[in-house]
């Protein structure tokens, strides 16, 4: 029992920087939900049951723009599809656990928890550590949402204070260390360009299109550079043979 508690605490501590960094964003989600017209209970439910910052924020934006149910679901599906990758990466470690652990850790599997859960280190997962990291982040997110709801119902136009920059700040801090190859840089450049272009045209499916375009661009760049690398050394060795 002692070591379980220690692991929960260790996970909580490891997650603390992100739990703090995400607070303005959770606050924003709470305040913004009221502005869009959700009741305080609905606003808190969004964080309690959906527990996905990007999906929540984008869905609220779509609701404000009077988008339909289908558009909201399609966008949510696309934004959340990256979690398929996380669950696949952690399949070997989590799928042998009892059902309540699989459901629990699955529910808590955010971008932030995935960053703190090594998937290919060859060691078995410390489920108590993952629980501490995931659950503390869940609590921090919901407390921040609650604060946003309370403040949002007391102070009007809270969302005009520029709180949405919290999203930019948090996502930039997560994105920068991810850009480790030209293919990923190409993916980011394409996604950004298409997102800005479609936002200017006011297309509802713009975000969806931008994400797909970025993914395809990164994949194609990767394929092209692999093709050139395969061709490269072969071309060199044949050129080296020429003088003989």
């Amino acid at each position: 029992m002692h070591s379980k508690q220690r692991e929960i605490w260790r996970g909580t501590l490891a997650m603390t920087p992100l739990s703090i960094a995400v607070a303005p964003w959770g606050f924003l989600v709470g305040a913004y939900a009221l502005e869009v017209g959700l009741s305080p209970l609905e606003a808190q439910s969004l964080s309690l049951f959906v527990f996905a910052g990007t999906s929540q924020l984008v869905a609220l934006g779509l609701m404000q723009a009077q988008a339909g149910f289908v558009a909201i679901m399609l966008t949510t599906l696309l934004i959340t599809s990256r979690h398929l990758l996380y669950s696949m990466a952690l399949r070997d470690k989590i799928s042998p656990l009892p059902a309540r652990w699989r459901y629990g850790l699955g529910f808590l599997l955010t971008d932030e928890l995935f960053v703190h859960t090594p998937s290919n280190d060859g060691k078995p997962l410390n489920q108590w550590y993952a629980l501490g990291a995931g659950l503390s982040f869940y609590i921090a997110w919901n407390l921040a949402t609650l604060l946003g709801i309370v403040a949002g119902s007391a102070i009007p136009n809270l969302t005009e204070l520029g709180l949405e920059f919290a999203v930019v700040a948090t996502f930039t801090a997560m994105l920068v260390p991810m850009i480790r190859s030209l293919a990923i840089a190409c993916c980011c450049a394409t996604a950004s360009t298409v997102a800005v272009g479609t936002a200017m045209l006011n297309w509802q499916a713009g975000l969806l299109l931008a994400i797909l375009a970025g993914m395809v661009a990164g994949y194609l760049w990767e394929q092209a550079s692999e093709y050139l690398q395969l061709k490269g050394p072969a071309a060199k060795s044949s050129a080296a043979e020429e003088p003989q």
């Binding site: 599906l77 930019v168 950004s192 360009t193």
Partner: protein, 105 residues
């Protein structure tokens, strides 16, 4: 309608997080699709950040006094130098607030 939307979102998000943790699921994504999916996270993050930084009231804003743009550049630089998530997030937000409500107000 809002309750239905919230419930459907919760199901979609949980399903995507849980799907491959289910031991009875025999499926795996093909290698090509898996590599394509590897670009999902940077694509999502970029596609969310870029319009927030560059589009305001439906207009492209590349003005040097755009506090979102300067704040984002600050976040990138601080992250590259310090490699510290919390420092980069907090400091870039402070820079943004200082620019928006004080320097360029």
């Amino acid at each position: 309608m809002i309750a239905l939307t919230l419930a459907a979102m919760a199901v979609l998000v949980f399903a995507s997080r849980y799907l491959f943790l289910e031991p009875r699921l025999p499926l795996e994504l093909g290698p090509k699709l898996r590599r394509l999916m590897g670009y999902a996270t940077p694509a999502v993050l970029s596609a969310v950040i870029a319009p927030m930084v560059l589009i305001h009231q439906g207009q492209l804003n590349t003005d040097w006094q755009n506090p979102y743009l300067l704040g984002a550049i600050a976040a990138v630089l601080i992250m590259l130098i310090s490699k510290n998530t919390l420092l980069s997030t907090v400091l870039s937000m402070l820079i943004f607030v200082a620019l928006k409500f004080w320097l360029f107000a």
